[in-house]
Every structure is written in structure tokens, then in C-alpha cells.
């Protein structure tokens, strides 16, 4: 009668549930997207719409906007689960919490960052980026945004028990975002000046794999701590 649950089952159940929840609240999916677009819109308004200037700083603008959008949405990663008690449910399973945490982060990335990937080319065109550079931008976003979610997860878990975690979250997270921002924007810079980008991209891949293997551990530890 007793049927045990496999790790793979649990892993996919966590992702599926979060996707289903996102679907139930689909009106909220637009929020990070709208934020991303609006931040980008502010730059030409502040700097003036000179084409050569915009073209040069477009990758930086898009990346900073993606970073801020990720920071804004990451706050919700564990909040609802913490408030309604499902976090306890997730801890009290036979499976390692860090793996389930990874599933949560992947779900969150699919919900909040993947839509940005689709709209980023459009933004690039509005800022007069060239088509092949937009391709590089997409690649860096694809490799970089999961890292942002993974690192952000640690800080969210650490500030979960705090009532006013918002500003603190930004202070904790942004310094840790620096390397990925540097590698991503320098990859695009290299592409724009006609240099090889494979070095930058392999660096980003390395960081991504490092983040996938390492970040769930402190996140899980911090989550358990927040339940005390």
C-alpha cells in the first residue's frame, strides 16, 4: 500500500505546483515584465535619444534593468510558502531540502525571468542595437539570469523572518551580482567591438554551474533557520 516518493517526483512536483500557482495568478506575471520595460524607457528619457549614445549603452541598460527586475521579483520566492506554512511541509520530506530549493528557484526563474528573455530583443531594437549583438545579449541573459535567481535565493531565505526585508535584501544581493553583470556586459562589449566572446561566455557558464551546485546549500540552511 505504501508508495514512496522519488526525488525526481518531488522535484518536478515542486516546479509544477509553482507553475500552476503562477498560472492561477497570471495577471501578476506581467509585473516584472512591465518593470523591466519601464526602467529601460527611463534611460532615453533621461539621456536624450541620440542614436550612437543609446547604441553604445544599450547592453548596460538592459542588463541593469534585468538585474533590478530580478531583484524585485525574487522577494516572492519563499514569501508565500513561509506565510502559509507550506515551507514546513517542504522541509519535512525524505528529500534533501537543497534539491527542493533548486526546484523552487528553477520554477521562479521560469516564471519571472524567461518572459524577460522574450521581450529583451524588442528592447534592444528600441535602443538601436544591431541584430547579431542582440543575439549575444540574449545568450548572456540566458546564462546570467538563472545565476541572479540562485544568488538572490540565499538573501531571500536569510531575510525571510524579517518584517522589513526589502532594502536589506538589495544590500545583500547587489554586491554578489557584480561579477555576473561584469562578465555579461563585457561579453556584449567584446561582440560590439568585434572581439571573440567565447571566453566571456565560458566564464558565465562556469559561474552558472558553480551557482547551481553551491547556492542551494546556504539557501536551504537559511530557510531552516528562518523556521526557528
Amino acid at each position: 500500500m505504501k508508495k514512496t516518493s522519488s526525488l525526481l517526483n518531488a522535484f518536478s512536483a515542486v516546479i509544477k505546483r509553482d507553475l500552476l500557482l503562477a498560472y492561477r495568478f497570471r495577471a501578476e506575471l506581467i509585473n516584472p515584465l512591465a518593470f523591466f520595460v519601464m526602467v529601460i524607457t527611463l534611460f532615453p528619457l533621461a539621456l536624450g535619444a541620440e542614436i550612437t549614445l543609446l547604441k553604445r549603452i544599450a547592453p548596460a541598460i538592459i542588463w541593469v534593468a534585468a538585474l533590478l527586475a530580478s531583484l524585485m521579483s525574487i522577494e516572492n520566492l519563499f514569501r508565500a510558502d513561509y506565510d502559509d506554512g507550506s515551507l514546513e511541509l517542504m522541509v519535512m520530506t525524505p528529500h534533501p531540502l537543497s534539491i527542493l530549493v533548486l526546484a523552487k528557484v528553477i520554477g521562479h526563474w521560469l516564471i519571472s525571468s524567461v518572459p524577460l528573455l522574450f521581450i529583451a530583443p524588442l528592447m534592444g531594437m528600441m535602443l538601436h542595437m544591431e541584430t547579431d549583438i542582440i543575439g549575444v545579449l540574449m545568450l548572456t541573459l540566458l546564462l546570467g539570469t538563472p545565476v541572479l535567481s540562485l544568488i538572490g535565493g540565499i538573501a531571500v531565505a536569510l531575510t525571510l523572518g524579517l518584517r522589513k526585508g526589502g532594502a536589506l535584501l538589495a544590500i545583500l544581493v547587489l554586491p554578489l551580482y557584480v561579477p555576473i553583470l561584469i562578465f555579461a556586459s563585457s561579453a556584449i562589449d567584446a561582440a560590439m567591438t568585434g572581439f571573440a566572446i567565447s571566453g566571456h561566455l565560458s566564464m558565465m557558464c562556469a559561474i552558472l554551474f558553480l551557482a547551481i551546485t553551491l547556492t542551494p546549500l546556504p539557501t536551504a540552511a537559511a530557510l531552516k533557520m528562518s523556521l526557528s
Binding site: 505546483r17 502559509d84 519535512m92
Partner: protein, 204 residues
């Protein structure tokens, strides 16, 4: 449930905000027993439950689940379930979706339909949890305990927001669970009707 389970606490103490909530607490709970934790508000009931679930570390002392320290035991979280003040339900999902998720994370015993029928929620499978009353949500949380394989139940005020009939139902399941070899640890303000032969009490 064939083999015996045992939870042992040695010399537990808990300090919160420089106040000693309890000191040198010892108990042993074996299969078939219910532990009722009593005490006034702020006496440390919830803190004790948090320690027993392993979420909070005791200031001193240790806890053994089947002779293994719970923080090292691979089986403790497989065997233990906790219902706190919140039910751990997603209100935007249906009752069935909630239970299916719980079953995917832990071992399954009953089918979802059977468990829901047992707690008197048959026919509510596809209802969003948001539309259930507070008492029904509590019962759904109970159904979650029934449909997953969890010998050890740790319940924080399980009877809140339940009417008298539901309390009776809840107590029945606690009793059956104990009779089948389960273990229950609970706090409660209410007088419980559970048979005294099963019960241990700790007054904080």
C-alpha cells in the same frame, strides 16, 4: 505500521529572549502514545514543538528518533509531519491539487479520495481551498496527514477554528492513529476526550 518508533528527549532546555522557557525536560514517546503539552500562553509550547520538529535547536539537550539524533537522522523528516497555526495549504489550488503535491513529496498511504471522504470532505476535490471554510481547511490538513505515510504527528493547536463535531472527528483520528502504532505530539487549550491510557502530559 509494523515496527516500533520511539522519540526520546534528554535534558532539553529552551531560552528565548534571555528567558528560560523550560529546563531539563525529559520524555520518551513510543508507538501508540499521545503526548499532550499544556501550559499558559507564552510558556513555550510552540517553541517546544519547534524544537521537536528540528526547526529550532534546543539551547541544550538532545532529541533521538529511533536512537538517532534527529539532526543526523535521515528518517526523521520522512516520518514526521507538522501542522502549525497555518495549514500549509495553497488557497489558490484545489483541495486535490494540494493533496497530490503533499503525496508527491512524501510516501503515500491512502488515496486522495479515501482520505477526503474520511474527513468528511468528499465531493470537494475540485474546490479551490480559498472557498473552503476555516474548519474545512483544517480538516483538509488532517486529510493530508491521513494520505501520507507519517508515523509521527506534531500538531500545534489542532482544534482551533473547528466546531465540536469536527473536534470529535479529529480526536477520533488521533486515537486511531495511536492505536495503529502512530505517535502524536500536540498542544491544546481544549479539554481533550482522548482515553487516558494513551496519554502522557507535560505541563510547561
Amino acid at each position: 505500521m509494523t515496527h516500533l518508533n520511539k522519540l526520546e528527549a534528554y535534558q532539553l532546555s529552551c531560552v528565548r529572549d534571555d528567558r528560560i522557557l523550560f529546563n531539563e525536560l525529559n520524555f520518551t514517546l513510543t508507538s501508540g502514545q499521545v503526548l499532550l503539552i499544556e501550559g499558559a500562553n507564552g510558556a513555550g509550547k510552540t517553541s517546544l514543538l519547534r524544537i521537536l520538529t528540528g526547526f529550532r535547536r534546543a539551547e541544550s539537550g538532545h532529541l533521538l528518533w529511533n536512537e538517532e539524533l534527529i539532526e543526523n537522522s535521515v528518517h526523521f523528516y520522512e516520518d514526521a509531519a507538522y501542522i502549525g497555526h497555518n495549514n500549509g495549504l495553497k488557497v489558490a489550488l484545489t483541495a486535490q491539487e494540494n493533496l497530490r503535491y503533499a503525496q508527491a513529496l512524501s510516501s503515500t498511504t491512502l488515496t486522495i479520495d479515501d482520505a477526503m471522504a474520511k474527513v468528511g470532505l468528499a465531493g470537494y476535490q475540485d474546490t479551490l481551498v480559498r472557498l473552503l471554510s476555516a474548519g474545512q481547511q483544517r480538516r483538509l490538513a488532517l486529510a493530508r496527514l491521513l494520505c501520507t505515510h507519517k508515523p509521527l504527528w506534531i500538531l500545534d493547536e489542532p482544534f482551533t477554528s473547528l466546531d465540536r463535531a469536527s473536534i470529535k472527528l479529529f480526536e477520533q483520528f488521533i486515537e486511531t492513529h495511536a492505536n495503529q502504532g502512530g505517535l502524536v505530539i500536540m498542544t491544546s487549550h481544549h479539554e481533550t476526550q482522548l482515553p487516558h491510557t494513551l496519554m502522557q502530559k507535560i505541563h510547561l
